[in-house]
């Protein structure tokens, strides 16, 4: 019984990498359709074509899944997850296989709109530095905008949630501003902010602020009366009730606000970059589109996918740590 279970697992490791292996074989064996040539570029001191780079990515995936597959054998949780992902990863490999075949090898897909995987790698191989530079620009914009938006949102939310007088004046403002998409402020932002960068920071912050503020204030206001009474009979003053009772109680809601606002921030970031920034992935897409360099557009989209999922993951980890006291979060 035990042996068959082990055999099944190792078969699934093979299955996981099978799709990618087929993709590599296809890429190496099937000849290129005539008129396409890949020029060589210096990458980390190596002369590579974008097709080489694509193949390196495939090799890397195969090696990564093989190694993690072997390591995870000893960890039950991870092993189960790995087993569960096997089918998906196999299909991913097959899709790369088909994409390469149709996009690059046979050029069935209309060009230049749908380049093959190797074509997209061209953007990284030929101007990797420039892509990186734009990625960092986006990341900086996002970071400043998001942090400022979350911080001001939490502060506003606490004031609105705690002081009825502040609530009276601010909550209508929050309700009205909350429904306006942040990008609507763009012309205004470009006028009042000193630099293009700070105007985008402002827009991202605005897109995040409203939602975080609203949810923070609801979280504060929904604190059960007995929690406050408990705080008072234990000897807590108003400061204690705000910072040790109301805010901790509001944390789950604050995080709901942050994770939702995170999505808004991405949208605003890309739109702001496409409409008036000297850099960033949105800018890169726009600039490439003008030259019909659709492979660069795809490259930027792939970078965004990776970057935004990483950011979301980081937020999720922070949330899981901060809310470790919640039911179902701790094992």
């Amino acid at each position: 019984m035990k042996i068959s279970k082990r055999a099944r697992y190792f078969l699934s490791v093979i299955f996981t990498v099978l799709g990618f292996t087929l993709a590599v074989i296809l890429n190496s064996v099937v000849p290129q359709k005539a008129d396409v040539t890949f020029s060589q570029h210096e990458v980390f001191g190596l002369a590579l074509t974008s097709n080489d780079a694509y193949r390196i990515v495939l090799y890397a995936l195969i090696i990564y899944y093989l190694i993690t597959g072997i390591i995870y054998y000893n960890y039950e949780d991870r092993r189960k997850k790995y087993l569960n992902s096997a089918r998906f990863r196999f299909v991913m490999g097959i899709l790369l296989f088909l994409w390469d075949l149709l996009g690059t090898k046979l050029q069935v897909l209309p060009q230049p709109f749908f380049p093959g995987p190797a074509g997209i790698m061209e953007a990284f191989v030929a101007e990797g530095d420039y892509v990186l530079q734009n990625t960092i620009y986006s990341l900086r914009l996002y970071f400043y905008g998001f942090v400022i938006g979350v911080a001001t949102g939490i502060i506003t939310g606490i004031l609105v949630g705690w002081f009825p007088r502040v609530r009276y004046w601010l909550s209508p403002v929050m309700n009205v501003l909350g429904v306006i998409p942040a990008v609507a402020w763009m012309p205004f932002a470009l006028t009042i902010m000193p630099t293009a960068f700070s105007s985008a920071v402002f827009l991202i912050a605005v897109s995040v602020w409203g939602l975080v503020a609203t949810l923070t204030s609801t979280g504060i206001m929904s604190t059960p009366k007995t929690r406050f009474e408990a705080g008072r009979v234990l000897g807590g003053n108003e400061f204690y009730l705000v910072f040790h009772v109301a805010i901790p109680h509001a944390l789950p809601q604050i995080f709901t606000g942050i994770t939702t606002a995170n999505g808004y921030a991405f949208t605003t970031l890309v739109m702001a970059e496409m409409m008036g920034q000297p850099g960033g992935l949105g800018y890169y897409i726009n600039a490439s589109k003008v030259w019909s360099a659709y492979y660069k557009v795809f490259a930027a989209i792939i970078v965004m996918a990776i970057l935004f999922s990483l950011i979301t993951k980081v937020i999720e980890l922070v949330q899981r740590y901060v809310l470790r006291w919640q039911k179902g979060v701790v094992k």
């Binding site: 007995t226 929690r227 408990a230 705080g231 008072r232 009979v233 807590g236």
Partner: protein, 260 residues
Amino acid sequence: MSDAFLKISDVNRIYEDEDNNSTEALKDINLEVNKGEFVSIIGASGCGKTTLLRLIAGLDKPQSGYLSLHGEKIIGTSPKRGYVFQQGGLFEWLTVEQNIAAGLKARHIYKENKHRIPEFIDMVGLNGFEKSYPHQISGGMAQRVAIARTLINDPELILLDEPMGALDNFTRADLQDKILEIRKSQNTTMILVTHDIDEALYLSDKIVIMTPRPGRISEIINVDMYHPRNRNGHDYVNLRNKLLEKFHLASEVKEPEYII
């Protein structure tokens, strides 16, 4: 001038709702509690027993009359008057240990007192659960945390608002013994609100019977029995029967009839 530890004189508390209907939650309440006494307040729901406890805690104010603790008028809450809530009222975001330390933090005396935390964890028998969060422990354990959290403030008076109301019978009996044990070692005055006659009888020196609409004290009964009390002992059963009788009588007479 009375030398009673806790003195409640002519207290009235009337609630008004939005339609200006007023409910007399407490009417002409007079009660004295001596230091070190264990007093239970029993009565049907709506008799104002929790309102009275909240007034003593300073969580609520009377319309007329006054309450004093060793001669000082009760205004607002104080850590000297500990309060154990019906459902514990623990802070879900703090561990057992942090919940117990909450009072020290709130009073800014955490650093010089944190060495006392293990003593209180030990007192309520929660060793090994220091790092657990409230949702990970049982209802009985949560109530013990709530008691320890109150005790660490060295209160002169502990107010217990049906702390055992939501517990099963075994857990309840267990917690009752724990409360007696703590009371013996700390010699704290305790006032318990309950609707369980047996619980009142098992724990108290004095039982205050209240009746609803308007909420008033109908009778005060002294219980002169040694601890631990045998729940099936002769005196105990006799007193329980007497109490049941009075209690039913008391609530039946005053119960208004509703005709819809």
